[in-house]
């Protein structure tokens, strides 16, 4: 008799613990304003990433198509996995001197681990982290980018 009573009480206790858990889930069913889900592809227009978010490396250009990159190659040295290749060229300045300038700043997004070491090392602040995070492409070759825009040149007054 005692064993039977114990058995029944265990069953009721067990059901009680299940109900305790269901009370929590029930609470959230009837208070949907506690939900935190973002409707991601639909909210693309309003979705704003944090300022420091590391999405990809970009080079900023001003309205005259000028950038700040001197082609010094410090970012290339600091990159741990060889995502950055600097191809520099020699240019003649107005005084007739030869000066190094950037020809192509090649960036392999597919190899990049977004560690921020290149941006930290850049002496002129030419490259920054972009906020874009939708990097899916159909072809791997599309992940190799040239960061300086065609026809762009270095802004006045930037020194190495």
């Amino acid at each position: 008799m005692n064993a039977l009573f114990q058995y029944i009480s265990t069953v009721f206790k067990g059901v009680g613990t299940l109900l305790t858990g269901m009370k929590i889930t029930g609470k959230y069913v009837f208070t949907p304003w506690n939900n935190v889900t973002q409707q991601y592809p639909e909210n693309r227009d309003t979705l704003k990433m944090f300022d420091r978010f590391r999405g990809e490396v970009i080079m900023t250009h001003n309205e005259n198509n000028e950038h700040l990159c001197t082609g010094c190659g410090i970012c290339e040295i600091n990159c741990p996995n060889g995502s950055i290749e600097i191809i520099s060229k020699m240019e003649l300045t107005e005084e007739g001197k030869k000066k190094r300038a950037i020809d192509q700043h090649i960036y392999h997004l597919g190899m990049c681990t977004l560690c921020n070491l290149c941006i930290k090392a850049c002496p002129t602040g030419a490259i920054v982290m972009g906020q874009n995070f939708e990097h899916a492409v159909w072809d791997r070759s599309k992940l190799t980018k040239v960061l300086n825009q065609p026809g762009s040149k270095i802004a006045q007054g930037v020194k190495e």
Partner: protein, 377 residues
């Protein structure tokens, strides 16, 4: 028919009444590509032989080709749930070798980040533990609260998991102006949410039946197999590096090293839940008192360690993590070795699970909180 029988009997490795079953490498409850070779008799587990190396990425070897500041970002990818502790271990090792004293502010920031990482890791462990035992609800509740911590990380460090926030001599950025406010909001909210975890899972009769009195690990075995972290402390092995060899701001805060003696699966579960309260307690002590000052000391452009061997250990969410650097005075390390907690903890699994049913193996493995890239490196 008679031929087959003869082969089975003459083979001294395979017995007629035992199965050899591969659990993994694509098993959902091994949390990654872990392969366990399980020797079964019916449902009973006789022996477990873990086979590692399916996600071996050669991080230690890669470190030999890159400079010291670059080593840090690779450690994110080992134990990705305690990324900041791994970063800090390498940074501390380099700082000790160069005898650089970091500002107080850095110590505070690093400790808060450590504890936030620990909370995020334990939250993920909790929700995955429920999911392994068939309670999918916990998965959503755990991830919901973890999202707040990841937002804090994203705002200050720029990434959600692969933080790369510690650098030799300090941290990469100063904390975001919103950081303190957000952390305080999170603590206030999470203190309310944490009892919900207990109500949802801890008291649940199915969960109790499946975790109580299984997977015993004795204190002797825990020490012999080097089981550290909450898994080792569940057996009474006092191994908290934060207490025994304090680093960063841990000497300044009051906290308790949670210890239990029973050593079964439920004890390890309970201990991790207690640790979450301790982490909240540590953050509360530090968050209002972050001293003003620099967020990093200026280091040389090329970091070169003096010749010699350097070792630093920290407490990650899984246990003791060690960094061993051999330097020959050049800008690259000569050899780097990481002592990862997951590797040692995994190999004690045979001690815990042998003699139990195969369904219990999943529960026991869950409380070890394995992260596979941490094991394989």
């Amino acid at each position: 028919m008679s031929e087959t029988k003869e082969i089975i009997i003459t083979s001294d490795k395979i017995h007629t009444d035992e199965y050899l079953v591969n659990m993994g490498p694509q098993h959902p409850s091994t949390h990654g590509v872990l392969r366990l070779l399980v020797r079964l008799e019916g449902e009973m587990v006789h022996n477990i032989q873990p086979h590692v190396g399916y996600i071996h990425s050669g991080i230690e070897k890669m470190c030999e080709a890159i400079s010291y500041p670059q080593v840090i970002h690779l450690t994110d990818r080992m134990d990705y749930l305690s990324a900041h502790m791994n970063n800090e271990a390498v940074a501390l090792c380099i700082e000790n070798a160069l005898q650089v004293e970091v500002p107080e502010r850095v110590k505070y920031i690093r400790t808060i980040m450590d504890e936030l990482s620990r909370l995020a890791s334990h939250q993920l462990w909790w929700c995955v533990m429920g999911m392994d035992l068939g309670a999918l609800t916990t998965f959503f509740y755990g991830l919901r609260d973890r999202e707040h911590i990841l937002d804090i990380f994203e705002e200050t460090c720029g990434a959600r998991m692969t933080l790369n926030y510690s650098v030799p001599g300090g941290v990469m950025f100063d904390i975001h102006p919103n950081f303190q406010k957000r952390v305080k909001e999170f603590i206030k909210e999470f203190r309310k949410k944490l009892p919900e975890y207990d109500q949802l899972l801890t008291g649940n009769v199915i969960f109790q039946e499946r975790t109580n009195d299984i997977g015993y690990l004795s204190l002797e075995d825990a020490i012999a197999w080097g089981v550290t972290g909450p898994s080792g402390r569940g057996s009474g092995f006092s191994c908290d590096v934060r207490k025994h060899q304090p680093y960063s701001a841990y000497p300044l805060v009051q906290f308790e090293e949670k210890l239990a003696t029973k050593g079964d699966t439920f004890t390890r579960y309970r201990l991790r839940m207690e640790e979450m309260y301790e982490s909240l307690h540590i953050i509360e002590q530090l968050i209002d008192n972050i001293p003003e000052g620099d967020y990093a000391v200026k280091m040389k452009g090329v970091v070169k360690l003096p010749e010699g061997e350097f070792y630093q250990r920290v407490e990650t969410a899984r246990g003791e993590f060690g960094v061993y650097i051999v330097s020959d005075g050049k800008k690259n390390p000569y050899r780097v070795k990481f002592r990862s907690p997951g590797f040692s903890n995994l190999f004690a699994l045979n001690k815990m699970a042998a003699g139990h049913k195969i369904a219990d193996l999943v529960a026991i493995m869950s409380t070890l909180d394995l992260v596979i890239p941490d094991i394989d490196r």
